[in-house]
Symmetry: C2
Subunit: 319 residues, 2 copies
């Protein structure tokens, strides 16, 4: 605790695997009173009669240390017996739901049916996994990301998983946003936060929905905020971020990401491979940290988290 | 079809494993136009957010040939990965839901959520399992068997599975019966039936709920009906039938079962071990068939079904 008194009270904004990895690293550095993770729920969808929350679960599985070591989703040591049988019975198994994963979805559905809100359900599931850091859905209300393509709109998981991001993205829309409110616990965490870290998640479909909720962008903007680039060497480490940037006519580089967040953030974290972009990022009025941002293992997550924290502390001191 | 023209159009009433075994045997003897199986749904219950229909599923699994060869429920070659993980996450795994079994429950819940009635859902599931004989829930409305014990009432599966039938049964009640209607397809099958076979299922908790639905007992009574004793040598082959009879003060024997059905049926099938009871059963005004009723394997099911059919044909000729 002596260590933490010098550490900031932080909120991390996270989407899928990149966000989950940095959140995991930060959780090694900060106690639960100093770190809350607000997670995108725009990817959530109903499937097989269950509510699937891919980003919440990826963050949960990573913090619990039960995540698949290589793929960006699901559990380690997973089997697919239910899905295989359902497929034999005519179900299209395009969305890979494992048996362990299903156990969580069944418990979540049961708790939701009992009237708990998604924030409370997520807290209870986290408790059962032994996860002590608050994992906070951005909203308890359904917000559903819809991807615009030349052939029409696609629900996010349809675009992302079934069609493997192949259709060209010409726009996106957040269904339910008109009536959705941010989750009270997420708002409270931001209110208490001394700083915010935007994890290396997709700026459009992972971080975008969080910032689109009423009042959240303003609260992030009001604090020293650091974003870690999800684009390294002109490519996304996971997912369609680079492809989307190209299709939306944005420069596919860490600089493109920095421009996307300019006006919202004060500091930007670049991978060392993109060190040559540091002057251009600085010219946007941003402080820059150049380091190794590729989190190949837990040690790399914890190391990057430490560097990001030091960077955040500098920004807080200056603010 | 030449064979079947001489065979009766039959309805079988079935509960759990004993009923499923004879229904399976009958399905080997009669084409789908000559055999419908009306199944008890009083055992159904909501669990893990799913609708579990133990008797419907036992009949389905037996007719599909995917039933567990020894135990009276569930699938062959089953695993329990979802349940094991749910238990690790705090779920009490008292009801053993296997992974393959769960696939069916998930698909059923999805179809019910889409607005299909239980009869239509069961028909669709049967189709997917390649089962051609109509498996008909007794009702599309919820009817729930509640067991009275000295310590109060227990939901059926709580009594049957969690408490392993240990509490003394002092009575039973069918929750929802006041408003439940028999399923139209079940009524239509009985209307078309030339005869009815009451399978060797528990007379109270398996057959009782079917007969309790408005109009069903009368329709059974109006036809040549044969019951196969679930009590052999003073014992139930599976389940609590013998224990229940003793607790309700009824003679625990095939004769006790025959007395229970007297006034409803015209013929009664006794196991050869109970041949000495044949005169007392006949004295109730019933035709009696004495044979080997213990269905140890598929061949035994088909053989017993053949004998029961011949017996039914005699009764039809005489009626």
């Amino acid at each position: 605790m002596a260590l933490n008194t010098a550490l900031p009270r932080l909120v991390a904004l996270a989407g899928g695997v990149g966000g989950a990895r940095l959140a995991h690293g930060l959780a090694h550095r900060l106690d639960p009173d100093h770190l809350s993770i607000i997670v995108n729920t725009g990817d959530d969808f109903e499937h097989l009669g269950l509510l699937i929350c891919p980003d919440l679960d990826t963050v949960l599985y990573n913090l619990a240390g039960v995540h698949h070591p290589d793929q960006g989703w699901g559990r380690a040591d997973e089997t697919f017996h239910v899905l295989e049988e359902a497929a034999r019975l005519g179900h299209d198994p395009w969305f890979r739901l494992g048996d362990k994963d299903l156990a969580l979805h069944l418990l979540r559905r049961q708790m939701l049916a009992a009237g708990l809100r998604l924030t409370a359900v997520t807290a209870e599931l986290a408790r059962r996994f032994g996860v002590v850091h608050p994992i906070l859905p951005m909203s308890d209300d359904p917000v559903r990301t819809v991807i615009g393509t030349p052939e029409g709109e696609l629900a996010f998981q349809d675009y992302f998983v079934r069609q493997r991001c192949r259709p060209r993205m010409v726009g996106m829309r957040l269904e339910g946003l008109e009536t959705a409110r941010p989750a009270p616990a997420a708002v409270a965490a931001l209110e208490r936060a001394e700083a915010v870290v935007i994890c290396p998640s997709n700026p459009y479909v992972s971080i975008g929905p969080i910032l689109a909720l009423p009042g959240l962008r303003e609260r992030v903007q009001a604090r020293p905020t650091v974003a870690v680039s999800p684009i390294v060497g002109g490519q996304a480490l996971k997912g369609p971020a680079a492809k989307m940037m190209a299709e939306l006519g944005v420069e596919v580089s860490a600089l493109g990401v920095a421009r996307h967040y300019a006006g919202l953030i004060r500091g930007f974290v670049l991978d060392q491979r993109d060190a040559h972009l540091a002057p251009a990022v600085a010219a946007l009025g941003l402080r820059v940290l150049v380091t190794d941002t590729v989190m190949t293992d837990t040690a790399a997550r914890v190391r990057l988290a430490g560097e990001v924290l030091a960077f955040v502390r500098e920004l807080i001191r200056e603010s």
